[in-house]
Symmetry: C2
Subunit: 226 residues, 2 copies
DNA sequence: ACAAAATTTTAGACTAATCTAAAAATATAT
DNA sequence: ATATATTTTTAGATTAGTCTAAAATTTTGT
């Protein structure tokens, strides 16, 4: 519609490169990591990287991993923007659970229409965060700044607000649902077990809750301002 | 998501075969017609028809044109259902004009998630017709029955309700917008010119309006019950 | 520091969807 | 009714994205 020059597949690679770079604090992404996340083999990734480098979407030195160029990053951010806006739509307007939306948004993120994205954004009230707490880039590709900490880095007796998750698997999200841990809820660290580093929490000043260290490492929180 | 077995492209062919068959009152669709509507060449269509026949989505005898099987029709109706539901969404929820939605719906119609379609349908209030007046098949593939006539078949002094269009080009739709002819409006045939068969109409019992025979042939109407 | 292990790239092949050019079948027109 | 025109199919290529197997490069462990 707005852009005939880049394929569905290329968009996907650029998106994944962006997200993995972010996860590695800006370090290069390796071929094998990409193969894992694109559900393909390393050989296929090598081919695609050659192609993306040719089109100047990435900086690529053989055997040395890969980084997005400014052009590549803008495309990645556009795809991520659409993905997260559609996730908001699916949850806020259609009533999906946060554990059900990823695969649908993976499809919707490639719908190509600037006008649609703009109107969807307005329809949703220009949200800054998606249902998992991930920031939504604006139409210029600017990310809302976030400063989350892992719950596993919070000290005893500290109260925090639940702001996001660093794992998006349905299993993890459903686990949180079962414990009534939702975006925006209040958590206070009552005790950290010496034995297994599991957390004893107070949820919303009411309910005692135990979560494993695995859970604590994947919950993103912010120190309460109150 | 729900169906790995059929490609985007195959879905498109089946949809187009359905719509052309309908337009030809159930007669076979020719290779050249398909080439025109798929924006490809006859040779490519021949290949695809062989493939679709192999998968039992169509009945195909070389040189004799093509017709959908029950299986093919169900797939076509599913795609058409999604296309028309998304069109309702774009107009009713996002405020698009009826002339702006076709190309976006062409993309959205291939999003594969039964649950999404179901929830979208509910969100929109289970509409029976899209913004062009076309009927929306239900989840079982059943089309709401319609009995429209062309305005060009209506006799003098008859009052009718505007129910749909048989051409969806932005130019035609914008032309109707300019004349304030909208779905559901009231039209009375005041005079038909002997010279060029153009129509002198009364719109909503208020406004005199002249439309060409070309327009009259592409407006679908129903005799007013009042 | 260098052999072994791991990773990455290249080579060659496959599939889906498309194309052009040529051959085959059908339709048409005097 | 038969020559001509039109339509459709086949043959042979092309491109995007993928694969396996083998070669090249980098990393790791002692």
């Amino acid at each position: 519609m707005d852009n005939q020059l880049i394929s569905f597949t290329e968009e996907n690679y650029l998106k994944i490169i962006y997200l993995l770079t972010e996860r590695h604090n800006g370090n290069e992404v390796s071929t094998n990591q990409l193969a894992e996340h694109t559900q393909t083999k390393a050989a296929s990734v090598s081919d695609m990287l050659r192609k993306l480098a040719e089109k100047s979407y990435i900086n690529y030195r053989k055997y040395q991993g890969v980084r997005l160029t400014e052009a590549g990053e803008q495309i990645a951010l556009g795809v991520i923007r659409k993905h997260r806006l559609w996730e908001v739509f699916l949850v806020e307007k259609l009533g999906f659970g946060w554990d059900e939306i990823h695969d649908i948004a993976e499809q919707l993120e490639h719908i190509d229409s600037k006008e649609l994205t703009k109107r969807l954004d307005d329809f949703l009230g220009n949200p800054q965060f998606d249902p998992h707490g991930d920031p939504i880039p604006d139409s210029k590709g600017k990310m809302p700044s976030v400063s989350y900490q892992k719950l596993s880095e919070i000290s005893l007796n500290q109260s925090v607000v639940m702001m996001g998750v660093s794992v998006h698997s349905p299993a993890f999200l459903q686990h949180l649902d079962k414990q009534q841990i939702t975006l925006g809820c209040d958590l206070k660290v009552l005790e950290i077990s010496d034995f297994d580093k599991s957390y004893d929490l107070l949820l919303n000043d009411e309910i005692r809750l135990f979560v494993s260290n695995e859970v604590a490492r994947n919950l993103l929180v912010q120190i309460s301002s109150t």
